[in-house]
């Protein structure tokens, strides 16, 4: 498997991974804002967000229709839809694509749910690897507290209640997320995860993320003004005026 850079794509894909409640979504949001404010070409994509597939997934979750196999397949469908219709074209067009969760989420979760690792990896082998993958490593108790600070209850699937590990959702969460953490850690070296200590305060983590990206990605080359194909003069002027009314 190769990264998008290795495959010659002009764009770069940056993924964040971590347990539920690790704070990765906050971090990728701040990262997106930082890149956008520099007027770079940025696109953000979230796990389980393809419009059409989402309807089926939420129905499956609500009515508890999902088994480990269909849970895995429906998320793969969702990923494929976003991959083929959004991620790849945008990366071809030279965008920095930010993904809140990527294939590693499936590698970790589906295997914990009992799907064979080779089967899961085989299904996702149409996808190229991210150019950078940040892993937000948090303690279980920290993650649990972050989730419960935001809302009163744990969700059925994030607590792994479908696995019947424990009747107590909190205990189930600890066991389930603990197993996912093991899977992530086992993949860390293989997929060159950049591990961020997610027990730190938000600002410190964001500082680390921005520093690492500055070192590894030539951000200036993703500036919005730089278009891969130059437009005819007249049109270019018109566009600039339209986009920047106030100088």
């Amino acid at each position: 498997m190769k990264t998008f850079a290795e495959l010659g794509f002009p764009g770069r894909l940056i993924a964040v991974e971590g347990l539920d409640g690790s704070g990765k979504s906050t971090q990728i949001y701040l990262l997106k804002r930082w890149l956008e404010l520099q007027e770079l070409k940025v696109y953000f994509s979230e796990w389980n967000s393809s419009e059409l597939v989402k309807a089926a997934t939420s129905k499956g979750k609500k009515r508890e229709l999902l088994t480990p196999t269909t849970f895995s397949l429906i998320h793969a469908t969702d990923f494929a839809d976003r991959y083929e219709r959004h991620l790849v074209p945008l990366l071809r067009a030279g965008y920095i694509v930010l993904c809140d969760r990527y294939i590693f989420t499936a590698f970790a979760r589906d295997v914990v749910r009992g799907c064979p690792p080779e089967w899961v990896r085989g299904i996702y082998n149409f996808a190229a690897l991210p150019d950078l993958t940040f892993f937000f490593k948090s303690d279980l108790e920290v993650s649990l507290k972050r989730i419960l600070d935001g809302r009163p209850q744990l969700k059925y699937f994030e607590a792994g209640m479908d696995l019947r590990l424990s009747a107590d959702p909190y205990e189930s969460f600890r066991i389930f997320q603990g197993r996912i953490l093991e899977q992530y850690l086992a993949m860390s070296t293989e997929f060159n995860f950049l591990v961020v200590d997610a027990n730190q305060v938000v600002e410190k983590q964001q500082g680390v993320v921005r520093e690492l990206i500055s070192q590894r990605v030539d951000l200036a080359s993703f500036h919005r003004a730089e278009r891969p194909v130059p437009k005819p003069r007249a049109e270019r002027h018109a566009r600039v005026k339209e986009e920047e009314p106030a100088p």
């Binding site: 059409l52 597939v53 309807a55 089926a56 129905k59 499956g60 229709l65 999902l66 088994t67 480990p68 196999t69 269909t70 397949l73 429906i74 793969a76 469908t77 494929a80 839809d81 991959y83 083929e84 219709r85 749910r113 009992g114 799907c115 064979p116 080779e118 089967w119 085989g122 299904i123 082998n125 149409f126």
Partner: protein, 243 residues
């Protein structure tokens, strides 16, 4: 009178069971006492007619039956239908969507029915799904891994009908050729008739290729429904007797 009046009812012999690949986690194959019979073939090849007759025959012989088919899952059938109407899904996505639909029925209908000793009649199975994708250039190894989740059936019958005859049968029923069955998504030809012929010929070729590795029975679908059913009954009887 057919053989309905007989009170001697054959109890099917247990068969060796296996998944094609990794299978479904947590399934005890030993417990699957029923039989899984698959009928494959293009639209218009007579699948539903044959299955209806088989159900009548099997029930008359004292066996409980269940029917499954593509795009019939509770989980994703509606969404899949919508997606196809809009023709907005790319290849891998559509393929995985169908796999989800298949897996849902496998786990929620086929496996429980087999466990309860039913004879499951499947109106198409993974082979159609694989063939469609292969014709569209998808990687065969990828598909084999994906459908490694499927249970190996006790018998698979492929109703072989020439594309010329399929066209005639389709027009005898409907005034139009189906978009997907004509492979129109592939841009083979703007002429729907040409596209249909080309696509169905490619599908037939692919089925023959799959046949060599999955070993299903090719049935001459150009004969009368009655003759075909007689052949199927004979072969299924042998399966039930454990031969």
């Amino acid at each position: 009178m057919k053989n309905v009046a007989k009170n001697h009812i054959l109890v099917p012999r247990r068969s060796e069971r296996r998944f094609y690949g990794h299978g479904i986690p947590g399934v005890d194959l030993e417990q699957l006492a029923g039989k899984l019979i698959v009928v494959e073939g293009a639209d218009g090849s007579g699948r539903s007619t044959q299955i209806a007759r088989l159900v009548e025959w099997l029930e008359g012989s004292g066996h409980a039956t269940v029917q499954v088919g593509l795009k019939r899952s509770t989980l994703v059938s509606e969404e899949l239908e919508q997606a196809q109407e809009g023709n907005i899904l790319s290849r891998t996505t559509l393929s995985l969507f169908y796999a989800t639909d298949f897996a849902d029925q496998l786990e929620n209908i086929i496996l429980p029915a087999l466990k309860a000793g039913f004879i499951v009649l499947a109106d198409r199975y993974i082979y159609t799904l694989m063939a469609r994708d292969m014709v569209r250039g998808m990687d065969e190894a990828w598909l084999r891994n994906l459908y490694g989740l499927a249970l190996e059936p006790d018998a698979v019958f492929y109703l072989n009908v020439s594309p010329e005859e399929l066209v005639q049968r389709t027009f005898a029923k409907n005034a139009a050729l189906d978009y997907w069955e004509s492979g129109m998504d592939q841009g083979l030809s703007r002429d729907m008739f040409d596209s249909f012929m080309e696509y169905q010929t490619a599908m037939q070729k692919t089925f023959r290729r799959l046949q060599s590795s999955y070993g299903f029975t090719i049935v001459d679908g150009m004969r009368s429904a009655q003759d075909i059913n007689a052949e199927l009954q004979k072969k299924i009887s042998a399966v039930l007797a454990g031969k």
